[in-house]
């Protein structure tokens, strides 16, 4: 493995897990010449004409699907931290003695700590997806056999569609399915909302297995996953812990500092002229990207304006705005609470989206760039507005990229971050891992002030007379360094040992994650 310097001046390997890589060339610079991936033509003559694809158990289905060493197995993360299907899946794979699997989840959660023993014994070769919590620690310490690959939600779709990742078997956990494999996530005891993240898997995998705890009579509608893409259906007792799949209700943070940041964001959007009739925004379900919703709601009511659509991360707060007529549509990538699930099920204006519609960079456009404002988080930012979202300042991988990279393309991308966490400054001299180029990041809002990217002279002009604390990023950094007792030192890493790479939305390699010494 040779490290080469890419267009962002980061060193990245030319080969990852035996596959040749293209280093990051700049935003919008890489134009692939090859064709989309495809698979062999199927014939319905090979499938039961009565439409009944139910198999007795997962092991039988995996056997029939031709599971063997070195295959790529995909799962999705709609069941979040309540998921037991993925752990069960690997228990079965392990029992079959199969090795060196490339696990390709759309995201991982702390509940997947169970899989560490399979990473250790060679059942799983490496992870391409996200490496959160215990899996992140395992990877950072250099214990994974292969090199981890981190992709955004859009990048995951792109990698499958472009043939970068070929899925041998997709295992789709579905809260409702019929015998034909039509499936959705809005019905049943394990209802989780939309199943958009599993779309690429259903369309492109060689074999598709739907696992459900709620087998309903044909037709299972809405069919978020179409049975025509499905090979086998397995019925199990439970997909997981409903309380951890969606929260009963999403609660807004009580942290006064986060609320202050949320309030600054709402006021900034107002004063910059972004909150106006027909505007659109992206919201999330955690921290500040949720907390700013009530603040913009109040401003919208006062001004008498409506949003044309909101991208979610849906929660009860977004649903309330939809139901009160303040938003015309929710375009929902991921449903976070029971109000969100109910609304998606009953309200035609609460629409499920997929990484294809919202985020895929190799398509004829995507929704992310139509959005007027996106509010995102970050673990670190530097003075050039470059940001990190996967690792912490101690060098450990902690989070996945999620839709974060894709959302950077909104017309006004705002990172809501504390200026420091405990004693850890967030505005650093050099981000530990580069995940988002600064040219796409417009505003950084902290409790100590709002910094606008100097490239955005339009935004700077718009808030020139504002009473908001608009400050240069450097000045906020200096203040925080004084509080924390100087600039932090960098973690001790082995620069010759890459444990994971961060892909950009076009499949090129943006940065490397190194082994902690």
């Amino acid at each position: 493995m040779k490290l080469i310097k890419n267009a962002a001046s980061r060193f990245v390997p030319d080969v990852v897990n035996g596959e040749k890589q293209i280093p990051f060339k700049g935003v919008g610079k890489f134009k692939p010449e090859n064709k989309f991936a495809s698979h062999k033509i199927y014939s319905c003559a090979d499938y039961p004409s009565d439409g009944n694809k139910v198999e007795t158990n997962l092991k039988t289905a995996l056997k029939k699907a031709g599971l063997k060493d070195g295959m790529t197995i995909s799962t999705h993360h709609h069941l979040r931290n309540g998921d037991i299907v993925t752990n069960y899946l690997f228990d079965v794979i392990h029992s079959m003695g199969v090795k060196n699997i490339r696990w390709f989840p759309s995201a991982s959660f702390p509940c997947h700590e169970h899989l560490i023993k399979y990473l250790e014994d060679g059942t799983i070769h490496h992870i391409e997806g996200s490496m959160n919590g215990p899996l992140g620690k395992f990877t950072s310490e250099g214990k994974m056999k292969g090199v981890g690959v981190l992709r955004s939600h859009g990048g995951r779709y792109q990698s499958v569609q472009d043939g970068e990742v070929h899925i041998d078997i997709a295992v789709i956990a579905a809260p409702a399915s019929d015998q034909f494999g039509n499936a959705n996530g809005v019905q049943g005891k394990s209802a989780c909302g939309g199943l958009g993240f599993a779309l690429a898997d259903a369309e492109y995998a060689d074999k598709v297995i739907v696992v459900t705890d709620n087998l309903v009579p044909f037709p299972c509608v809405p069919w978020q996953i179409q049975g025509n893409n499905v090979d086998y259906v397995i019925e199990v007792e439970s997909l997981g812990d409903p309380a951890k799949i969606v929260s009963g209700t999403t609660e807004i943070t009580k942290s006064p500092d986060r609320l202050l940041v949320a309030e600054y964001i709402a006021k900034f959007l107002d004063e910059a002229g972004i909150i106006k009739d027909g505007f659109s925004f992206q919201a999330g379900a955690g921290g500040t990207s949720l907390a700013f919703i009530p603040f913009i709601k109040e401003i919208m009511k006062r001004k008498g304006v409506k949003a044309s659509f909101a991208r979610g991360g849906s929660s009860k707060y977004l649903v309330e705005m939809l139901e009160e007529g303040l938003i015309n549509y929710i375009l929902d990538g991921q449903t976070f609470d029971l109000d969100g699930v109910r609304s998606m099920k009953d309200n035609p204006k609460h629409v499920m989206t997929s990484p294809f519609t919202s985020y895929n960079y190799h398509g004829k456009g995507n929704f992310a760039s139509i959005v007027d404002a996106a509010i995102l988080g970050a673990t670190e930012v530097d003075l050039y507005f470059n940001a990190n979202v996967v690792s912490h300042s101690d060098g450990y991988l902690l989070h996945g990229i999620g839709g974060w990279q894709n959302c950077l393309f909104s017309k006004c991308t705002i990172l809501a971050v504390p200026s420091f966490r405990d004693r850890i400054p967030v505005i650093v001299d050099d981000v530990t891992t580069l995940c988002g180029p600064g040219e796409l990041i417009d505003v950084i809002v902290t409790e100590r002030g709002i910094a606008i990217n100097p490239r955005r002279t339009d935004l700077l002009d718009a808030v020139k007379k504002s009473s908001l604390p608009i400050r240069p990023l450097k000045e906020i950094q200096k203040e925080v360094y004084e509080i924390c007792g100087g600039a932090p030192t960098k973690p001790n890493v082995d620069k010759n040992k890459v444990v994971a790479v961060v892909k950009w939305v076009d499949g090129t390699v943006l940065d490397s994650v190194y082994k902690i010494m």
Partner: protein, 405 residues
């Protein structure tokens, strides 16, 4: 008294953030051994070690083993925890390891400064200190009294002392609530030399308490050769205190405000504290009256339900109508609501503008008597109008160039 060999201070446990635990065991030989486990080791491990060594040198601690469990404590906290542990071992050592002053903390204050909101910060919870001022309270109170557990009283003093010096509270006035007497008198050594602006004296029941505190302050000021003004704010928290409120409010010319604490007052009466507050109307009115009679500000108690912002707003409106000029806050999000509720109405602003203009006109013409239409305006009315204008412009209800209109 037996000489301790081992002492500790600070906090430990999975849930602790922005704090640390320090244990010092003294020895007769072997030099200083440190063992540090820190959440921020890769970023500030060296800095932590440097501070420990500097403190050992300062206190001439030559042989000891020191254990630090750090959860991201800022340097002023780490130093306070170390010193608290050390002083338990060597109470006779009078040397103090003082962090340098943040430039904002040299600021003085004035007797009639605006005190609409004062944000309580538990004195032993340093994680709340650095961001408190960002919520723009008129004052912060570093509390050594009710919010600090008896076992942590000593430890909290070092933390509050260091915070008064090193933490930027932005433009908030820096207050400290000391303990009840006699412990409160000992607290003063930790705050008076460090540019505190106002000392809150809890559970006042006589002028004597005020005089004792004032005398102790004067002794410490003389010892340290400091001349900045330090004001006093007595808290009335009992039936007897209410009866003596005028005596208390007029006990010293250093008193800037009189305030009331309703949790303890209602407990003293043996009644429930209600949202409506009928049970305390006599006490509140008496305190307002005593304050005004003594020429100091009247400041209301805290509103305890941090989730009920509308209740808070109504409570402040009521306080304002009774004559109070400020309210205690126990959560940063209460500050803005308090400021908004104390803001003058449009009608009040219009009236104040006319009075201020008439006053300036009279001054320009050298006329001693201010009049508006056919009405004479007294000096206190002019002063109130000026106060209204200040509040209006602070709440952005009035452009600072309004006179040009």
């Amino acid at each position: 008294m037996a000489v301790l060999k081992k002492a500790s201070a600070g906090k430990r446990g999975d849930k602790i953030r922005s704090d640390c635990f320090v244990e010092i065991e003294s020895a007769n030989k072997g030099g200083v051994k440190t063992s540090v486990v820190s959440k921020v080791d890769s970023m500030y491990g060296q800095s932590i070690n440097d501070l420990l060594i500097a403190m050992c040198d300062f206190f001439e601690l030559k042989h000891a083993s020191i254990i630090v469990e750090d959860y991201g404590a800022l340097p002023f906290t780490l130093a306070a925890r170390f010193e608290a542990a050390y002083k338990k071992l060597k109470p006779e050592d009078t040397k103090e390891f003082l962090p340098s002053f943040h430039k904002n903390n040299h600021k003085g204050t004035s007797r009639d400064r605006l005190r609409r909101s004062r944000l309580y910060l538990p004195g032993n919870e340093s994680k709340f200190f650095p961001n408190a001022g960002l919520h723009k309270p008129d004052a912060v109170i570093l509390d050594l009294e009710d919010s600090v557990a008896p076992s942590e009283k000593e430890s909290a003093r070092y933390l509050v002392r260091n915070a008064l010096r090193a933490v930027n509270f932005y433009n908030a006035e820096r207050m400290v609530r000391i303990n009840q007497m006699p412990m409160g008198l000992d607290d003063l050594k930790f705050v008076i030399p460090h540019n505190v602006n106002v000392v809150l004296i809890p559970k006042c029941e006589s002028a004597m308490t005020i005089k004792d505190v004032e005398e102790e302050i004067n002794i410490i000021k003389a010892e340290h050769n400091i001349s900045n003004e330090i004001y006093l704010m007595p808290i009335i928290e009992s039936a007897l205190g209410v009866v003596k409120s005028y005596e208390i409010a007029s006990a010293s010319d250093k008193i800037c405000a009189l305030t009331i604490g309703l949790e303890d007052y209602t407990a003293d009466l043996g009644v429930e504290r209600t949202l409506e507050g009928k049970e305390s109307i006599y006490a509140r009115s008496t305190v307002v009256n005593a304050a005004k009679a003594a020429g100091v500000q009247a400041i209301d108690s805290v509103f305890s339900d941090v989730n009920d912002m509308e209740g808070l707003r109504a409570s402040v409106m009521e306080a304002k109508s009774l004559g109070f000029e400020g309210k205690g806050c126990i959560h940063p999000r209460q500050v803005q609501v308090v400021h908004e509720a104390f803001a003058p109405t449009e009608k009040e602003i219009e009236k104040a503008k006319k009075i201020v203009l008439a006053f300036e006109e009279a001054e320009r013409k050298g006329i001693g008597v201010v009049s508006l239409g056919s009405k004479m305006i007294d000096a206190p009315v002019v002063k109130r109008a000026q106060h209204t204008i200040e509040l209006a412009s602070l709440n952005k209800l009035l452009d600072k160039n309004w006179k040009r209109e």
